[in-house]
Symmetry: C2
């Protein structure tokens, strides 16, 4: 059987695409960035899925072509790489489309570019000269942490650059996981990727309140006021706490889910497919509940992390963690018993080496059930009868590491028809050196000599709904006070619900003061009980939007971060809120703002809803050395989609493994 | 050993208080409402706690008196109950204070008053005449659901009344838990409590859009268009789902917590006391982490649920679920394996019968640990070494049932020094009859003939902090954009953090657009790393505030629901955001708004911070017949209180009970 049209490219398919691309060229060197499934055009996939859902699929049914999207550099005799994108039909073994990407865009970075950068820094006289300004204690090594260059100033030529933050690592313990982030060095080497030369070493300021933006105040003893702050258990000065008893999740009868055909998940009336790509990580497709369509595709589309320290070159610290290097590329290999508890299904992924060869990426996604407390309860006080059910969730999780930082993303499905998109931020703060005994209005001192700069994290979630079908509308619903008046509100307790259907692509912001709710409705399907159109809804999280000045490069390249909700008409391939090419962008191109700009009609059609939310993260000392998770939850819920609580038939059976606390844990005080 | 000053009154102590009160009167009948611990004045308790924490407590140390707060009616020969409150010193067996409560206030209700009301309705000719307007099908019984009367209109005499919603119950199955809420009858009997007579039967409208506020449009066949909507498993038409496999939480080595002296909980460096009273339910006291004081007292202070249907008498549907009847009085008896999983410690409570006799209330509070996913993680991409810890939480939970509705309250402590106050709303919507085939702008039709009216739930949490001591200040911190300018923000990426210390008692609202954060600081203690004052912080949840017209009775009696944050100077006994006497209040008296009105200085003193949040609940069909939980979380977090992430020493050991999914759960598709 051929693979499902949404199945990720197998290693064999990936390697076919590689071969087709290489064969298209002569003597040029082909340096691969990515090869991954180009999802079928929606028109084709809809037809296929319709057959699949109606049980009419046969081996001879028409199937969308298996297409490989290939990104690679072509390096000719002039040694100047050109960035190309091709689509290969894997079964036909044929390149079906091809373009050279314009010079105004940069290809996303690869980790091998980072490796080269590190080597080049080490070999750079310029870099060594800069380091010579510092006295490092015996036993300390220099660690180079490559970063995207951020958005170049409008005054500079937009060549392909990388920058790096630099740290010292105390190697006296011999432990390669000693936390080097606690010893930041104020040098930022910049490499021209084309020439592979370190062209300059920026010297950021290390001052505090009262010092100027450009004041160079550092001392030769650059980390004398820094101290170890380790997180690796064997390096903790007092070891780990010993009084935490194990808490085990056991599922003696196995999980309640079933996986068919590699990617099809069935659980508690839900049915959806899990896919993966190097850009977005795990994506969710073709989501149904109890035989009814809910979503066509759900994904984390982009995120940006702009830093607020105005001292150059820190204004270029702005990551696009999905567009710059690919969230999928940065996915962790997950471990049994660490990243989740219970019975776990892992999904493997495939990524691409520089030579285009497929590389397996094991355990990139995990799937498991978890208990989230009480699901619903009612006690009849007349009879004393209580019925209580647990809230079981199915979690599709992936975790990405971006140098110092990590994000944990989870799509959570529950028995009441709800979908929650959860993001957890953890990892190590991005930090820079600050002189001894100074404080800063640009961040917080979280360890001696370590300034954690203020920054924001703004996520964008892309919701491609299919509420009982593909033609949907978006309704903005609000609740408003009504002045007391004899005719409609004689006692002043009435409030009014307003509903307006969006006609054209647009953006709008959260308005919790009006209880603003975004409802995605099917205007052709009426709930037989309420007579409202069937819908799913969410309340946009009213988190602070991007703070950078609208004219700044930071803001221009992150327009998606300037409004909470964006509504567009579906277009094939329009997946990325910040645009396809974010690395070193100076302005957002073909992102969600441009899509809105088209002004497409969005009523009763194939709409897409994008939601931006995040956190203004002014670091706490408690975020150091590894930050406790900050949790964000976007809750997407049915709203008159069903004819009752879909979880009403969840059994209320008593869990037989629960125990009363043993007597020895409860004792009388001595006094 | 005498009990700890915060220990709830024992049954013996309660009965002593009863005896002292009864002995203070002659022939009068004493009808008890409540007897519970009057917590010691803070000045005394602070002294005691200081001895306790310094290990200097001895059997001869001074102890605050054990005081019983007693609320009761005195019924003399005129048979008119007078509402009295006394404080009894239990050890001295002496009444130490006494007042008769003014007629402008009503005592909170007791369930025995409800029982009387039901009996009187059944016996009432007026009520029977009203019912005679309807034809009920064979086998249906009438169910009377007593309610507080709400806020009386300003034009009516504020006598003590009760009202009831009335339903029909299909008893043909013989099951007393058949869901009667699906058969609402449009009659609302009102009883004068003094005369115990049903004085009138209100006839609410049953119309829909287009019908007037007072139109009587009901038909004799009043529930012909209603249908069964049961939640009891044996009455579900299709039974319960069968494919949910057990998920067990096992703690083979027991819990990580220890309970000493009945109420002292020690867990993962936390140390606090759990108490209980009939008004607030579970309360948390004297909270320390790793030998440092964090909170003096934490409680859910009040909540109000105003309904928005303007048709009289629905404007009087407004519950104060803490003040009207006492959340503690309504607490569920919790069950092992149903209300929580794992190893559970239950705390019992004591409530009071009408004759003043103590009645044990078993399992009123549960305490257990739970896993909440990943706590922190970092992977070193150079070495591949990942360190990941789980987020273990300790949960103190109680659940209250208020006729149709339930709330689940949990104080959650985590290993990173965080405290989360969680409220879950579930249970059955409060509903009224609506004519066949009509819809309404006052609510949503959730079942045939069943209108679930729009309403709000607004909670208030009272935070009495003790951040490294009792004298604290409150700082409002915000993040603001700064226009691009050469001097301070040359590239436009800078944003500014503003901090202002509150000088006087005041209220303020959530402002997520400014990232408004409330920090409770100790101005005398500086974090040695950041040089900021040590603090705990929270972001007020920016939920919609009370919508009722400011001049309405609904709004006047719920001033606490009109702003998110209230800051007051501590006063003994000032615990209730909506005032001590909410039952039938027409205006909030001695609530948090009055406390703010005093304009006390609140800098560097004993401050209290109150946070109101909630939900505008415009019902969904999915909320019927029992609503899936809606979850609210107020997150209180350390902010430069510690010198590092307090959870950094949590062991990252692998959970050995996790399993890979068995092969039989994963299969190839047939097609």
């Amino acid at each position: 059987m051929p693979p499902h049209p949404l199945a990720i490219l197998s290693e064999a398919e990936t390697n076919i695409a590689r071969d087709v691309i290489i064969a298209s060229y002569g003597n040029e060197v082909i340096d691969f960035r990515e090869i991954y499934l180009q999802e079928p055009p929606k028109a084709q996939l809809k037809e296929y899925l319709a057959l699949e859902h109606s049980g009419r699929l046969s081996p001879t049914s028409p199937r969308p072509a298996r297409l490989a999207f290939c990104q690679y550099d072509v390096i000719g005799s002039n040694r100047v790489p050109e960035f190309h994108e091709s689509v290969v039909d894997v079964n036909l073994r044929k390149r079906v489309s091809h373009q050279m990407v314009g010079k105004q865009h940069h290809a996303s970075l690869t980790l091998s570019e980072f490796d080269t950068f590190i080597e080049r820094c080490k070999a750079s006289t310029l870099f060594q000269q800069a380091l010579a300004d510092f006295d490092l204690p015996e036993g300390f090594d220099v660690v180079i942490e490559p970063w995207p260059y951020g958005g170049p100033d409008l005054t500079e030529e937009n060549r392909r650059y990388f920058q790096a933050l630099v740290f010292a690592q105390d190697m006296r313990s011999g432990n390669p996981d000693a936390n080097f982030y606690s010893y930041p060095l104020p040098v930022i080497p910049v490499m021209d990727v084309l020439t592979q030369e370190v062209i300059r070493v920026d010297r950021p300021a290390t001052g505090g309140k009262g010092d100027g933006l450009f004041d160079q105040t550092f001392k030769r003893d650059i980390i004398g006021h820094c101290k170890a702050s380790d997180y690796i258990p064997e390096l903790l000065p007092h070891g780990t706490r010993q009084d935490l008893k194990p808490l085990n999740v056991a599922q003696p009868e196995g999980p309640s889910f079933r996986i068919t055909d590699e990617s099809l998940v069935e659980w508690q009336k839900w049915r959806f497919r899990v896919a993966f790509n190097p850009r977005e990580g795990a994506t969710i497709h073709d989501v149904w509940y109890d035989g009814r369509s809910v979503m066509y595709r759900l994904s984390v589309s982009e995120m940006t992390v702009p830093y607020a320290d105005p001292r150059p070159p820190f204004h270029r610290k702005q990551a696009f963690d999905f567009g710059d290097g690919g969230a999928g590329n940065m996915a962790n290999n997950l471990s049994l018993g660490c990243d989740c508890l219970g019975v776990i299904k892992y999904f493997d992924a495939v990524v691409t080496g520089a030579d285009g060869t497929a590389k397996p990426m094991p355990n990139a996604i995990c799937l498991h059930e978890q208990d989230n407390g009480i699901g619903w309860k009612h006690s009849n006080w007349r009879t004393g009868r209580a019925v209580v059910t647990r809230l079981r969730e199915l979690v599709v999780q992936f975790i990405i590491t971006l140098a110092n930082y990590e994000y944990i993303f989870a799509y959570k499905f529950d028995q009441a028809g709800g979908i929650t998109l959860e993001a957890r931020a953890t990892g190590i703060l991005n930090v820079v050196n600050i002189d001894a005994n100074k404080v800063s209005e640009y961040g917080n001192v979280v360890s001696g000599g370590v300034l954690a700069q203020n920054h924001q994290h703004i996520f964008n979630v892309r919701i491609d709904p299919a509420i009982d079908g593909h033609n949907n509308s978006v309704v903005v619903e609000e609740s408003h006070a009504v002045p007391m008046n004899q005719r409609t509100n004689p006692n002043g307790n009435f409030y009014q619900i307003t509903k307006s259907t969006l006609e054209r692509a647009c953006y709008l912001d959260a308005a919790p003061q009006h209880n603003r709710t975004i409802k995605i409705i099917n205007p052709h399907k009426t709930n037989p009980i309420s007579q409202n159109p069937v819908a799913y809804k969410f309340q946009p999280l009213p988190t602070q939007l991007l703070l950078a000045d609208r004219q700044s490069v930071q803001a221009q390249r992150a327009q998606f971060a300037q409004h909470h909700v964006w509504v567009t008409k579906y277009r094939d391939g329009e997946l990325y809120a910040g645009g396809r090419y974010t690395l070193q962008s100076q302005v957002e191109v073909d992102g969600v703002a441009d899509a809105v700009q088209r002004g497409d009609p969005v009523e009763d059609t194939d709409v897409v809803v994008w939601n931006s939310f995040g956190i203004t993260h002014n670091p706490r000392v408690e975020d150091w050395p590894v930050m406790p998770v900050e949790i964000f939850q976007l809750m997407i819920r049915p709203a008159d989609f069903f004819t009752a609580n879909p979880a009403i038939d969840v059994p209320s059976s008593k869990n037989v493994s629960s125990r009363l606390v043993p007597d020895e844990c409860c004792r009388k005080a001595n006094i």
